[in-house]
Symmetry: D2
Subunit: 148 residues, 4 copies
């Protein structure tokens, strides 16, 4: 699929997205940070620690999903007007390899930006010894909620 | 779908599942606990606190997913022989209502128990003022990994 | 999940749904028929023939999906006002057993009926020698399109 | 995600895949054909006719899914040894735009080729007036069945 190139409706999207991210207790609890942001795109990273693991010492699938879900949500939000909010409708994630590494990198792209619904794909990799190993793949549907 | 009734291959499944759950740093970090366990069934609960929230003060979709994913994984694990492990292949979750409440309750059932793959559905509700409000629905595929 | 009980906004929903179904060339091509219809519920059946098979002689996963998708769509449509249409946003289907039998039965229920989005689950079974064997499970998101 | 480059374990994969496709009654009924085949890749096309439509005259979501599912299945099969078969475990598809056009083009790629499970993504487009318009996106899990 040829990747669409987007322009944001809101010149202040960068500050707006980062402010919303800062209000997500869950991202702070995990220790995740936004590493890249552009219209229709968001990358979130998360350093490993034992508290993020499942029973084999890898990133928990739920942690991987949480980070991927946020990356997709903020990729969508970059394209909304300043007054609109985003909610996840649903997502599907394949855990394609053990999420074993020093850092999780969730790279989200908008593939379809509609009036009501936005569709994202999120590629999640593990940084391990200088390499980025793909570990999960998400396909996600989000809805725009227009505020006052 | 008429719910299948299962018997476990391992009489010690209860202790084995709880021991595995105890090794999940991520579940401890969130504060989740196993509230019910039976062959092919697992209920996990998680009390709300601000650190688990998204930007509107509800449970973060990723937190909801993490708890639902663990409930499904342990529902599957109850049916495995003692030497086998479980990994999530993939899941799909619909966030059907804002996850707004005092407590998240993820109720997982095995719907298909095959030699290699297990399929679960997970109903997630929010306890709010004495009521249980459905807030998410997961369909999940897991794989059995046979150990030494 | 306790199944919600619905009332339709449109007393003529039965005729309206069947008329829409009749316009689906794809359902006619397959040979599918509506066997049950109630507010928030639709059952579609499809007798087997070789033209519906995959390479092993079972119902093709795509045929199973097509019938399940239609059942979900029409379960949703029963709850809409007469002027509204339904479109599938997305679905996820697990093929839990070979779809091997004389007849496919797709049983769809609305699990969440929102202003914009409707969520359905669809249980698909195969009628084989007098028994109904579960063969697929779908979780589906639909959108209401308001007409003129 | 950087696309992996594959080599087939079976030099005769092309004939083997086309022979299996020829045995799919459902693909013949729809009128679909394999347009491209390479290790880890398969493109299937389907010309429009009224019998493939839903109630608005577009390709039925189930037809779109059937074609995408077959494309993914055969992309996976190219990488298997000659004695192995493929079954769809599950898939998730987003219908991102009305499937309105002269021809459906489903382009499948293997993104993860494991011993037991294969993960594919399938981009589906509609050929309309000389352009290819993206209309659906599938993420799919397949299992290898080793024969005698």
């Amino acid at each position: 699929m040829i990747e669409p190139i987007y322009t944001s409706q809101d010149p202040g999207y960068d500050a707006r997205v980062r402010e919303s991210f800062g209000r997500q207790g869950a991202m702070t609890l995990l220790g995740a940070t936004i590493e890249a942001l552009a219209p229709g795109h968001c990358t979130i990273e998360l350093p490993f620690r034992d508290e993020l693991a499942q029973q084999h010492g890898y990133f928990h699938a739920g942690v991987t999903s949480a980070v991927a879900d946020s990356a997709g949500g903020y990729a969508a939000l970059t394209l909304f007007p300043a007054s609109a909010e985003v909610l996840t409708v649903e997502f599907k994630i394949n855990l394609i390899a053990p999420a074993h590494g020093e850092r999780l990198v969730a790279d989200a792209h908008v593939v379809r930006s509609g009036r009501t619904l936005t569709i994202c794909t999120v590629d999640v990799s593990c940084a391990r010894g200088g390499e980025l190993i793909p570990c999960a793949l998400m396909q996600q549907t989000l809805i725009r909620i227009d505020g006052k």
